[in-house]
Amino acid sequence: MKITLSIPTINDRPDDFDMLFSLWSQINSDSLDVTFDFSRCGFLRHNAVAFLGGLAHLIESRSGNATFNWNTLQNNILTNLGQNGFLAAFKHGGGPWTGNSIPYREDKILDKNSMMDYLKVKWLGRGWVHVSELLQNAIAGRVWEIYTNAFEHAKSPIGVFSCGQHYPRRKELQLTVVDFGVGIPSNVRLFFRDDPRAESLSAANCLKWAFQRGTTTKPNGTGRGMGLDLLKEFVKVNKGKLEIFSHKGYAMVDEKQEIFMNRETSFEGTLINITLICDESYYRLASEAGEELIF
């Protein structure tokens, strides 16, 4: 069956995510022939870039065909997609090249050295975050937790997709990581499957559970579920922001608040958007003594 997905302007407000999830819901069957049309699109934020890349691969993984109608893109968006490497990833022109974009990335497996290069060099090492190597390593370690969660828990058949952007005026660095796996609520309900109450847990409550210290859905507790908790603590201390969309659940954590809610639209995978302020004065690491007993 042939479908044309009309891509509108997509920013990063809640209704923009609704739009992305609506696009996802339109391609949920096998053997589709999908054309992405950008005639109505005036801007694509990095979250949309990561999501659309994943969407194209999802279509192809279901024996379908995804075609980007590049001719319908405005020149400024085309340039941005060249700069962040999206065009090259879909065999349309060169790139990426250096700019405010943090390159579009597709990972089918979690390669720690390649990922560290991306985080430390292309995301944090571009001179726009003036922080020590020590702090750069700390940030890379925390963001790694996002990827490791995606690969350990999501069971995404097509891997994980990322894209980021530096916003000089807002002094922000943002990174979106999206997988098309089973989603956090599904894992939480599965973990509690022996209990009849599990099925009725709302997506928002499942996300809240996942953020609590020491929770994990991994069997035998080997994972121990530190990732989201550490990440939450880090963005709160450093005045950043962390957003998660999974199924109908939405979580937002910043310095002042933690919000967990159910939304109208649903996305079966997990989309994480992290914002860090690129001003070194905002960052601090807890000082650590070295000699006391650690166990």
Binding site: R213, L230, I294
Partner: protein, 115 residues
């Protein structure tokens, strides 16, 4: 025994697989009541999956007081130590005993129902 973690793993201690390599080397030594020093010189990036497996799971069958006596962690960055402390705190609670583990899982479900 002194183990140079950089030589074994490299500058990024992130994955459960890397953690298992460390665990496999140090667990027999510690179980035999022999001293182990883990030297993290030149290791830059740390994440919880590595620590959960390399160190957290030691608490499954070795007591805290014995680990304090037998295992020395040296030359770790403050960021790494912060993650390690959290992992140890978490693992101690989890591995304390089977009864606690089941109770924790039950309480968690009750809590999540009431969130």
């Amino acid at each position: 025994m002194k183990l140079n973690v950089y030589e074994l793993i490299g500058e990024n201690c992130l994955t459960m697989g890397d953690g298992q390599k460390v665990y496999d080397l140090i667990h027999p030594e510690l179980s035999a009541d022999r001293f182990v020093e883990l030297d993290f010189t030149k290791v830059g990036v740390f994440a919880s999956p590595f620590f959960n497996v390399a160190i957290g799971q030691l608490l499954r069958d070795i007591k805290s007081e014995d680990l304090n006596r037998l295992l020395k962690v040296s030359n770790m960055t403050s960021a790494g130590l912060a993650v390690l402390r959290r992992v140890i705190e978490n693992s101690k609670r989890y591995y304390s005993d089977e009864k606690t583990r089941k109770a924790v899982d039950e309480i968690l479900l009750e809590k999540v129902e009431n969130l």
